[in-house]
């Protein structure tokens, strides 16, 4: 409840603030508190994702966007509009009305706990990995995850399409070259962040983690490098062409796992047929698709950041 109260307070502050920089920072805090809230509700994987994506990467992207626009919102948009307010209040009331007949939170007899969950909980014999969330996302509902990866891929295509031809202005070297403390201080953690990303990537079977989170963390390392050493240097390694390759490659890898399982006589994304032993097959399948997710997500995040960063203030 305390956390929820915090959320409300922060939302109010974001609406009231005219200074967009502060507002963006507050959205980061908002995400972090949501992550705590998810932790309290025992949704560790969701919390992890929220912390990495909501509090991490998206805050950075918004800050980067702010650098291109004015730092303050137009006061003209701060009037109180009664019509929309009424609509919002009405919808809120309807939604609250809808909660009256919901099963109570944590009720062990609620349909969500009795219908499908028993099989998910006993899945260790079918899939053989301890993290149930990973087995649901990776295998039972692997097709959904494929869809979500495609959503990320679609977003990248959109940004490539919209921002690529708008390059204008001369390129400013934005590296913080003079600040030696910052350079060394930032350089030190980069390898550790990357190793941690790999850990999250491959340890998703056992603890919270997986391709989405790992991809974002990996991208964060590269973004940090770019911030300190400048775009020109970072782009030497991550050229647009290579990024496009990786963005598409991750999706293709995911799809390929599915297609291979079809060739081996199973259905799309049926990992049982990938190895002699179904449980091993599940292992390989989940490992590979998570890798596909990780590659696409990391490449997309890096591309988004580069494309925004490349635009200079007009």
């Amino acid at each position: 409840m305390v956390l929820l109260a915090f959320l409300v307070a922060i939302t109010w502050a974001i609406i009231q603030l005219r200074d967009l920089f502060a507002a963006v920072m507050l959205t980061g805090i908002f995400s972090l508190i949501s992550a705590c809230l998810f932790m309290v509700m025992d949704a560790v994987d969701v919390a992890f994702t929220e912390a990495a994506v909501g509090a991490g990467i998206s805050t950075i992207l918004m800050l980067r966007t702010l650098a291109l626009t004015e730092g303050r919102s137009d006061p003209r948009y701060n009037r109180l509009e009664l019509g929309p307010l009424a609509v919002v209040v009405a919808i809120g009331a309807v939604l609250i009305y809808g909660t009256f007949d919901m099963p109570r939170f944590g009720d062990p007899n609620a349909p969500i706990h009795t219908h499908m969950v028993p099989r998910f909980l006993e899945q260790s014999s079918e899939i053989g990995i301890p993290n149930i969330v990973t087995s649901i996302l990776g295998s039972y509902r692997g097709y959904d995850t494929f869809g979500e990866t495609t959503v990320v891929f679609t977003a990248a295509i959109g940004v490539f399409l919209l921002l690529s031809d708008l390059r204008r202005g001369r390129r400013v070297d934005d590296a913080l070259r003079d600040d030696i403390i910052l350079r060394i201080g930032a350089k030190a953690p980069i390898p550790f962040i990357m190793v941690f990303a790999l850990y999250v990537q491959f340890h998703g079977d056992y603890g919270p983690g997986g391709g989405f989170q790992a991809g974002v963390i990996f991208a964060a390392a590269i973004v940090l490098y770019t911030l300190v050493f400048g775009l020109a240097k970072a782009e030497k390694i991550f050229r647009r062409r290579r990024l496009e390759l990786l963005v598409a490659g991750g999706v293709l890898l995911y799809g390929a796992v599915g297609v291979v399982s079809m060739l081996f006589g199973g259905n799309f994304l049926d990992y049982n047929v990938l190895a002699h032993d179904p449980v091993h097959g599940q292992h390989y399948g989940i490992l590979l698709i998570e890798l596909g997710v990780g590659i696409t997500v990391a490449a997309v995040m890096v591309s988004l950041f580069f494309l925004f960063a490349r635009r200079q203030q007009v």
């Binding site: 349909p111 039972y140 959503v151 295509i157 490539f160 031809d165 799809g255 799309f268 990992y271």
Partner: protein
């Protein structure tokens, strides 16, 4: 391979999109995309044949049985929607290269084709799936890619209208997600068939009522049902001509199908219409949409905009069919979905030809077009007749069924209103015809050549289909009436 058909028609465009990104060449990626769309069309024809012969096809993804895994469920209703989506995508894409050259710089074409394929993938995935959450995942793919496609329009206003659509569309998607979440809470399942069965046992309660409300609102935003239509006219007007031809015929139709699927499959006729009186909300809204949108269409000066408002009116007809909740009504709705997709996309393709040659779709600039581009203008007239609902065209068939259904349910004023609103269609189509044929071309008009065959061909194929389905109704009405029967009376095999 034959048992994989349900997934293949989604998977092939889905995986061709990254291949397009890798290829980078405009023509190569066009070739790839074209192969994928025509393959998907062939697959959906094959599926239709199989569903007619053997009944509903189910495909378990990952080999997990529903409700644990995700299921693709192809029945008579959605195979019909799959058919129209793949057919329109294929035909429109065939006309693509020339039209795109005019509106988008060629170094971005490969990304355009990737986005186009993704949009198609999203629409097909939403249609084919038998899982409520999976609907949302593919809704995201199709929405995101359609915002992208719209934002590529030639003027800066395209960006603004894409953003407007993005805000509205995201709201719609969120409402759908909320509804699905609530249904999951009370039923404990995400599989649509399973959900429908468990909801039937549960009966109406407050959570179910709100779930129905938010899902209806969410899908209505996506299909631009009056009064939640504000995004559509701008989006259609400022998008690239080709994109409008594609989206107008597919996106709103799939959203309509989504509503049908949730109302009839999940909630069921009993719950939605008897217990919760959905028809009392939808019918007036549908009739208002027919009249207000048609009237507004009459006063527009941009032909693309006229057609956009006309689309809103047509959505009204489809929803009217749904709200009657009878076999005939739903048959009318589904047939109209199919027929309108063909006619509208023919009209917008004709406009794409106009844009290619004169670079504008303002009524003023189209003066005398009947003589300057006779084939394009004739195609417009042909499809326009269909839109009005002249006998021997496809539009007549679907309106006929709607009138029948209204009379059957005892709503004779509604039948009269359908006829009256068709008169409004006569007016706005006639305005365009008058300008094209009975006004002299502007004096300073340059000599125009007819649009290239690569674009006229696909346009005329669709115009031909408008007349074909007006005369031979065995495919459309035959399948749709069986589908409607399945939806209204349940009894899915």
């Amino acid at each position: 391979m034959i048992e994989h058909l349900p997934i293949l028609q989604i998977l092939v465009p889905m995986l061709t999109a990254p291949l397009c990104v890798l290829s980078r060449r405009p023509l190569v990626s066009w070739g790839l995309a074209l192969t994928a769309t025509w393959f998907a069309l062939a697959t959906s024809i094959q599926l239709l044949i199989r569903v007619l012969a053997e009944g509903t096809q189910s495909y378990e993804l990952g080999g997990w049985p529903p409700p644990w895994g995700i299921e693709l469920r192809i029945d008579l209703v959605n195979v019909f929607v799959l058919l129209i989506v793949t057919a329109i995508s294929s035909v429109v894409l065939t006309a693509a290269p020339r039209s795109l050259e005019k509106e988008i710089s060629s170094d971005r074409h490969y990304l355009f084709y990737a986005a186009y394929l993704l949009c198609m993938t999203g629409l097909l995935g939403m249609t084919a799936t038998g899982d409520a959450f999976n609907v949302f995942v593919f809704l995201e793919i199709s929405s995101l890619s359609s915002y992208i496609l719209i934002s590529l329009g030639p003027t800066r206003r395209a960006l603004h209208s894409a953003f407007q659509y993005l805000v509205m569309g995201t709201l719609g998607g969120t409402f759908v997600l909320l509804g699905v979440g609530m249904l999951y809470m009370v039923t404990g399942t995400l599989n649509i068939v399973d959900m429908g069965a468990r909801l039937g046992d549960l009966g109406p309660n407050r959570t179910v009522l709100v779930a129905l409300a938010v899902i209806v609102v969410g899908t209505s935003i996506k299909m631009a049902l009056f009064p939640l239509h504000a995004w559509l006219p701008n989006a259609y007007t400022y998008a690239p001509a080709l994109v409008t031809a594609f989206l107008a015929a597919t996106a709103t139709k799939v959203a309509y199908y989504m509503l049908v699927k949730f109302v009839f499959r999940v909630f069921g006729v009993e719950l939605a219409f008897t217990a919760l009186r959905l028809d009392a909300v939808l019918m007036p809204v549908a009739i208002l949409a027919m009249f207000i949108a048609s009237t507004v269409a009459i006063y527009q000066s941009d032909v693309k905009r006229i057609l956009a408002y006309s689309s809103l009116a047509q959505i009204g007809y489809m929803v009217l069919g749904l709200s009657l909740a009878s076999v005939t009504g739903l048959t009318g709705g589904i047939v109209h979905l199919f027929n309108h997709a063909i006619m509208k996309s023919a009209l917008f393709l004709a406009l794409a030809c106009v844009v290619l040659r004169i670079g504008s779709t303002q009524l003023n600039d189209m003066r005398g077009l009947g003589r300057r581009m006779p084939l394009t203008a004739a195609a417009f007239v042909g499809a326009g007749l269909g839109l009005i609902g002249v006998p021997m065209t496809a539009g007549f068939v679907s309106k006929w069924f709607l009138v029948l259904a209204a009379l059957e349910s005892g709503y004779w004023p509604v039948a009269v209103l359908i006829l009256l609103s068709s008169l409004l269609a006569v007016i706005y189509i006639w305005r365009v015809i008058e300008v094209m044929y009975f006004q002299p071309p502007p004096d300073d008009a340059a000599k125009l050549t007819e649009a290239p065959w690569s674009m006229l061909g696909p346009t005329w194929v669709l115009v031909g289909a408008t007349f074909y389905f007006g005369i031979s109704t065995s495919l459309t009405v035959g399948v749709a009436s069986q589908a409607a029967d399945l939806l209204v009376n349940g009894a899915a095999p």
